[in-house]
């Protein structure tokens, strides 16, 4: 079933009706939505997670801290606007590939990745990734060797998960900034490789 079957304008109208009634009651101002747009377009997003990953690749002491206590380690960056009770960072290695989902709603590490892409929230991904992760990853263009463990993290409580992808071969010569620019959001969810 496609989410495009119902014209968005109908939802937009419903939202506008509720907004208008709440403004009449003095519970909302018309510019509240502009703040939201700035917050999620500029302050919070996968660029934050990419900085964390690049530093972990370049700085072994940071990587150790990050894997031991992700929450404290990301506090070193002072990202604004993203909150997380507990962040657990899971490392992709030659033995294990990690991928993240929330089957019950759409929990996602907003503090480091911003808002999730649409496919992450859709029924197809949420239903299938726990049952046939290798097939789903193949559809994303990612082949995981049969001998490698494939670990799916279903974020069912308030702990949020971030995948630390395997680094590219030139991490010694590339700068942290160059590496950060190459870390994709999808790799930090676990549906892409670097």
């Amino acid at each position: 079933m496609s989410e495009h079957e119902h014209p968005t304008s109908q939802q937009s109208i419903r939202a506008e009706a509720i907004e208008s009634l709440l403004i009449d009651k003095g519970l909302l101002t018309e510019d509240a939505v502009d703040e939201v747009i700035v917050q999620y377009n500029e302050r919070v997003g996968p660029m934050n997670g990419a900085k964390v990953v690049a530093r972990a690749w370049k700085d072994p002491a940071f990587k150790t801290r990050l894997l031991a206590d992700g929450t404290s380690a990301i506090a070193e960056f002072e990202f604004s606007g993203g909150e997380v009770d507990k962040l657990v960072v899971v490392e992709n290695t030659s033995d294990v590939h990690n991928v993240v989902v929330c089957t019950l709603c759409s929990c996602y590490p907003w503090a480091v990745l911003g808002l999730p892409p649409k496919w992450y929230k859709d029924p197809a991904y949420r239903s299938r990734i726990v049952r046939e992760p290798r097939r789903v990853l193949e559809e994303f263009g990612v082949q995981i060797a049969a001998g490698k463990e494939l670990c799916v993290w279903d974020s069912s409580a308030e702990i949020r998960y971030l995948v630390l992808p395997e680094p590219p071969s030139d991490i010694d010569s590339a700068s942290e900034e160059e590496l950060a620019a190459r870390v994709s959001r999808d790799a930090m969810i676990g549906v892409a490789l670097i």
């Binding site: 009634l21 997003g45 892409p117 649409k118 496919w119 279903d154």
Partner: protein, 224 residues
């Protein structure tokens, strides 16, 4: 509740469809839903995240699948605003008609006259609640999950019920969503990450080398 939201392992949804160059918001109304959420908090209709998640679980199941993420939020939000008496359904319907709504469009909200709620405490920024009690389970210990669901909110998905797994991490005490969603208190419990093999969950259909790790509260688990 055994609602449509509990999607883990369901079959038939087809390929995962990705959108190229997806914007953060597909329209201004999606961002508007965030602003409406804040207003619902101000109005006292939205008390905590667990309550909000349950309000979304209670929307029309067909709308759940077809209205998208922010459509689900909008439906959950309308449930809470109407149930708290901040707005009423007729008021929203007539305002929407005024703005050009189709009368045959499926509204997602399904507010109930008497929500299953006791009374809410104010929400704290974190759900972590250190406990004086010792955890019942140790890392490495095999456990069984509870086999049955509940009428209300829970974070034990159907595909994990009645299965055997292994404790892989212990996270200390956390607010229990099953209770907090309904204003029955925080009732914090020990929280664990539990690992399940693909074969335990899906039998012979399982792909090789699959492990599902999921965070489960102590009352979801049984000693072996």
């Amino acid at each position: 509740m055994d609602g449509i939201h509990d999607l883990g392992g369901k079959q038939g949804f087809g390929r995962v469809r990705r959108e190229q160059n997806e914007p953060v918001f597909h329209g201004r109304w999606e961002a508007k839903v965030f602003a409406l959420l804040r207003a619902a908090r101000t109005a006292g209709a939205l008390k905590n995240t667990d309550q909000f998640r349950h309000a979304i679980e209670r929307i029309d199941p067909i709308a759940y699948l077809s209205h998208g993420y922010y459509g689900r939020w909008l439906g959950g939000l309308e449930n809470l605003l109407v149930e708290a008496g901040v707005l009423n359904r007729q008021q929203i319907d007539s305002k929407a008609l005024e703005l050009g709504a189709d009368t045959d469009w499926r509204v997602a909200a399904r507010p109930v006259a008497q929500p299953d709620v006791v009374g809410y405490e104010s929400e704290e920024p974190s759900a972590i609640r250190p406990l004086p009690t010792e955890p019942l389970f140790q890392v490495g210990e095999p456990v069984h999950t509870r086999g049955t669901g509940t009428a209300g909110h829970t974070r034990l998905p159907a595909y994990i019920r009645g299965r055997e797994g292994t404790i892989s991490a212990w996270h200390g005490g956390w607010v229990l969503p099953d209770s907090n969603a309904h204003g029955r208190g925080e009732n914090p419990e020990h929280l664990y990450t539990v690992a399940f093999s693909g074969a335990e969950l899906w039998g012979e259909q399982s792909e090789p080398g699959v492990v599902v790790r999921i965070d489960l509260f102590e009352s979801y688990l049984l000693k072996m």
